[in-house]
């Protein structure tokens, strides 16, 4: 078996250790004998249906996000949406999450159009929401995501609000989450998750990393997949320590 991670704008959107997420996916696949490669998909690159088995989309600097937003409007956004519809898993964080919503409204200047994958919108604020974050993910049985605690580090001033039809990824136990107001964090749509959790997220939350791998294999090979269990002692120790310290 083999998988391809599509690292969306990996050369531009990779702030706050987001690359750790692709490292986690890569290693956890390799440890199970699954071949995996990471493909950077940047400005001007072509993307075609079935070319990617998991999407990852990190955060970036303000200027970069404008360039990326523009590029996504040129067909790439449409294709990503179609791929998510057929079950391709996606993880997006911070800036990447914002650009997959309806729009981002800065303090001044025009709105930055998103691709409307997640039914959310983001507004710039003067508040820096920064610190360790612990959330409780309620079960999403429709996609096989069990109840769990997830820990990370957030650092954003954009406030993201969910539209009525949006399903939050989790409920904030400690931290700010989407907007620091309604205790929601992130958004989940099909097998796509958007959130504000750096940290890096996946190394310390291995159960979530494996969920992405499992979804990717199921979509690609069309069968139910059981991943071989790994010895996750250091992963779970880091997770538990962080949750106890900050939760």
């Amino acid at each position: 078996m083999h998988l391809t991670i599509g690292y969306l704008y990996g050369d531009l959107m990779n702030i706050y250790g987001d690359t750790g997420n692709t490292i986690a996916l890569q290693r956890r696949a390799q440890w199970r004998g699954i071949e995996i490669k990471i493909k950077n998909i940047s400005v001007g690159d072509k993307l075609k249906k079935g070319g990617v088995d998991i999407f990852f989309f990190g955060g970036g600097q303000d200027q970069t996000q404008q360039t990326v937003a523009k590029d996504m409007q040129k067909g790439k956004g449409k294709l990503i949406k179609a791929e998510i519809e057929r079950g391709i898993p996606l993880l997006s964080i911070c800036g990447g999450y914002q650009l997959l919503g309806d729009y981002y409204r800065p303090h001044k200047g025009p709105k930055l159009a998103g691709i409307g994958l997640f039914p959310v919108y983001t507004q710039a604020s003067f508040e820096r929401m920064i610190g360790n974050i612990v959330i409780e993910v309620s079960p999403h049985p429709e996609v096989g995501l069990p109840h769990q605690l997830v820990v990370g580090f957030e650092n954003h001033s954009g406030k993201t609000f969910l539209k009525p039809e949006a399903v939050p990824f989790g409920h904030v136990i400690k931290g700010f989450g989407n907007n620091g107001e309604d205790k929601s964090e992130g958004c989940i749509y099909k097998n796509a998750i958007g959130c504000y959790m750096h940290g890096s997220l996946l190394p310390k939350n291995p159960q979530l990393a494996d969920w992405f791998l499992q979804k990717a294999l199921e979509v690609k090979y069309g069968t139910k997949v059981e991943l071989k269990p790994l010895d996750d002692t250091p992963e779970l120790k880091a997770q538990r320590t962080a949750i106890t310290k900050f939760g």
Binding site: G17, G20, Q63, I130, H198, A242
Partner: protein, 444 residues
């Protein structure tokens, strides 16, 4: 000296005496903090009395560059004042200015204090730069580099550079600025400054900077290192070219990043008209700042000794450069001791370890024993697992004292100690207590 100024300095001196007597610190920040509350103009008032001032900023290398420039100038007989202990915020500079007064001479104006110095060399934090600069009015500003570092505090690289550019617009064009010409982000500063600009860099070397769009356009470098060769952990050799001159140099430090620090200090000395010959002659005897390639000797029973090296790690670019430098030197029986803290001065966000190439440490030596400590030891251990190290070779203990002592136990090779900033400060104390080295504020 007006009354307010006198009170501020006297109060600073009192705080300095107290912190040292009570052993609560080296007195490199608190005196300035209190004195500035009493007299906010203290820095501009006092620093004006020093004939020449150099300011050094950038993400990595400030302390080493400042120390090197001070070393060069001192050899020429100049009296140099600097903020010695890496205390590089406004309060650290105020503290250094206050400390320049002899306590018993405070009442005899002119006999001590800043006026008795020829040169001030200030290392200034990237964010504090914009606040401190207008108060200091330097003759020379050195921009070393700009990398992602503690984004929870400084913000993104773009915004750091933008703020520097804003500050430069209001700087006296009599000032000279010296820029690392290999860092494309810094080259953008040129359009914001009207005065003289000089550049330094390493020939055919590309620093893995943060510039992602246009590749660095080749800039003419005013001071350039050519043919850089690292010789173990002891030294680096190369030639320096400037104007129509070229001369060989040997730096008693490993790593290309130190060549950049040297070039900055050398160029600064040239701009200040210091004679260059003695600089190059005395260069091999330069000793680095605390925690930067610092060599230690551990004593064991029966007169046995073991070597230790301390390398500060604090951000992805700096830590990766350290790994690249030591990896080829790691031998069988050597051990690594890594400490990751998440206090304010380290950055509360430990995500940066995932941008740091720990994979670079994984060379040659297969069964390297690694000891991992600090308040986020578990995160660091996890990063090492994902960099390809076997968890069975990694010993995790958050307690620095205990972890260091097990790393030293039955050590038959060398111990490489790689701490983040506050872990380094704690280690200084632990090592001082066990007699391995002096307390840090006694060093200069």
């Amino acid at each position: 000296m007006n009354l307010k100024e006198f009170t501020a300095i006297a109060a600073g001196k009192t705080v300095l005496g107290l912190t040292r007597t009570l052993k609560v610190g080296g007195g490199s920040a608190a005196p300035g903090l209190y004195a500035l509350k009493i007299y906010p103009d203290l820095i501009s008032k006092l620093s004006r009395q020093i004939p020449q001032t150099v300011v050094i900023t950038g993400t990595n290398g400030k302390t080493t560059t400042a120390r090197m420039l001070a070393y060069f100038a001192t050899q020429q007989g100049l009296r140099v004042l600097r903020n010695t202990t890496g205390s590089n915020l406004e309060r650290g500079i105020a503290s250094a200015l206050i400390n320049s007064y002899q306590a018993d001479e405070l009442l005899r104006v002119g006999r001590s204090g800043p006026a008795t110095y020829d040169l001030a060399v200030w290392e200034v934090d990237e964010a504090a730069f914009n606040l401190v600069l207008p108060q200091i009015k330097p003759d020379l500003i050195i921009f070393l580099n700009v990398f992602r570092d503690q984004l929870d505090r400084y913000g993104e690289v773009d915004s750091v550079v933008k703020k520097w550019a804003q500050t430069l617009k209001h700087i006296d064009p009599q000032t000279t600025i010296l820029i690392n010409g290999d860092d494309a982000n810094l080259l953008e500063l040129r359009s914001s400054f009207r005065g003289r600009i000089r550049t330094f860099g390493v020939k055919n070397y590309k620093i893995s900077g943060e510039k992602t769009f246009a590749d660095k356009q080749k800039t003419r470098l005013d001071f350039e290192a050519v043919g850089v060769k690292t010789i173990g952990l002891q030294k680096t050799s190369f030639s320096i070219t400037w104007d129509k001159f070229s001369t060989p140099a040997t730096l008693p430090l490993p790593g290309v990043y130190h060549v950049y620090n040297f070039l900055a200090a050398f160029a600064a000395a040239h701009i200040m008209d210091l004679p260059l010959k003695p600089i190059l002659k005395n260069l091999p005897r330069f000793s680095p700042a605390f925690g930067r390639v610092e060599k230690l000797t551990f004593k064991y029973a029966g007169d046995r000794t073991r070597e230790g090296y301390i390398f500060l790690i604090k951000n992805p670019a700096g830590a990766t450069q350290v790994f690249q430098t030591i990896a080829p030197e790691l031998k069988k029986d050597d051990r690594l001791f890594l400490a990751l803290n998440d206090k304010l001065a380290d950055g509360t966000d430990v995500s940066w370890i995932w941008d740091t190439e720990f994979e670079k440490l994984k060379r040659k030596v297969q069964e390297l024993k690694i000891f991992v400590s600090g308040s986020r030891a578990e995160d660091l251990a996890l990063r090492l697992k994902y960099a390809g190290f076997d968890p069975a070779d990694i010993t995790v203990n958050r307690n620095l004292v205990k972890s260091l002592s097990s790393a030293k136990r039955k050590l038959s090779g060398r111990l490489f100690i790689l701490p983040t900033y506050t872990a380094l400060l704690e280690l200084q104390k632990i090592l001082a207590k066990s007699g391995v080295k002096q307390h840090y504020w006694k060093e200069s």
